[in-house]
């Protein structure tokens, strides 16, 4: 089973990289960009067929290692 974890800085925590990319896009005259967030994507293959169990395990992985929940939020997508 393929699992995709996206990690982004929480709303309210300044995303300096997102801001820098936004400025760079502006300077390339892409003037219709309202907001840019830079995050991380972690793609895993799990030896697991039970989706609920996979979600439970990956949540634990996120809480313990993949995200720092002081500053980051995460989302988990199970790709079929």
């Amino acid at each position: 089973m393929k699992v995709i974890v996206n990690v982004f800085l929480k709303n309210g925590v300044l995303d300096s990289q997102g801001k820098a990319v936004h400025h760079a896009l502006d300077s390339l005259h892409f003037n219709n960009v309202a907001d840019v967030r830079v995050g991380k994507q972690i793609v895993m293959k799990l030896n697991e067929t039970d989706e609920a169990k996979a979600r439970e395990d990956v949540t634990k992985m996120c809480e313990e290692l993949l995200a720092n929940t002081v500053i980051e939020d995460y989302t988990i997508e199970i790709a079929k």
Binding site: V13, A20, L66, I71
Partner: protein
Amino acid sequence: MKVSILQFPGTNCEYDTKHAFESLGATTEIVWHKSETIPADTDLLVVAGGFSYGDYLRSGAIAKFSPVMKAVKAYAQNGGKVLGICNGFQVLTESGLLPGALKRNESLHFLSKHHHLKVQNNDNDFLMLLEKGDVINIPIAHHDGNYYIDEAGLAELYANNQVLLTYCDANGNELNPNGSVDAIAGVCNKSKNVFGLMPHPERAMELILGSNDGIKMLQGFLK
């Protein structure tokens, strides 16, 4: 006085730290991260600076699962004194031994220079030889030194005198190099036995190298 200094793959300040404490008369031991114990006679445990595990994922994130970290947590929970410098500070926040987190510098640049710091609280072993309001000059060298803590956490830091040092200019006016909340450069835990800071006091031990203000900081632990 025995100072034990942790060494992870990628740590690069352990020998500077050893030299600094030995110049003050302490005996030292470098402890490899695979050790499941720390020396029993340890009076101070230092998590030295560097780039543990190449800063992969997040600075300090992988180091927190090294075998030695269980012993470090137990040592800290029993009141043992722990000092995290730079990457060591990141390891301690990632491990939950210190509050907050270190983000990428606001400018996105790696900063490597001397910077002035203001002593905010000295009712602790680390800064007891300095006065509140003292301005000292200590090198910084980091990419992820942007201290973040939420409002509730910040209020708690202030309420318990846990803010140790803030970045400032030579006159003591706030000057924030990296975007840290309230220009915070170092904090301690509530029970004041775990300390963390981004600047490098072990690199400020000799005037010929630009500053010896680190002596008064590290000597506090030897009292």
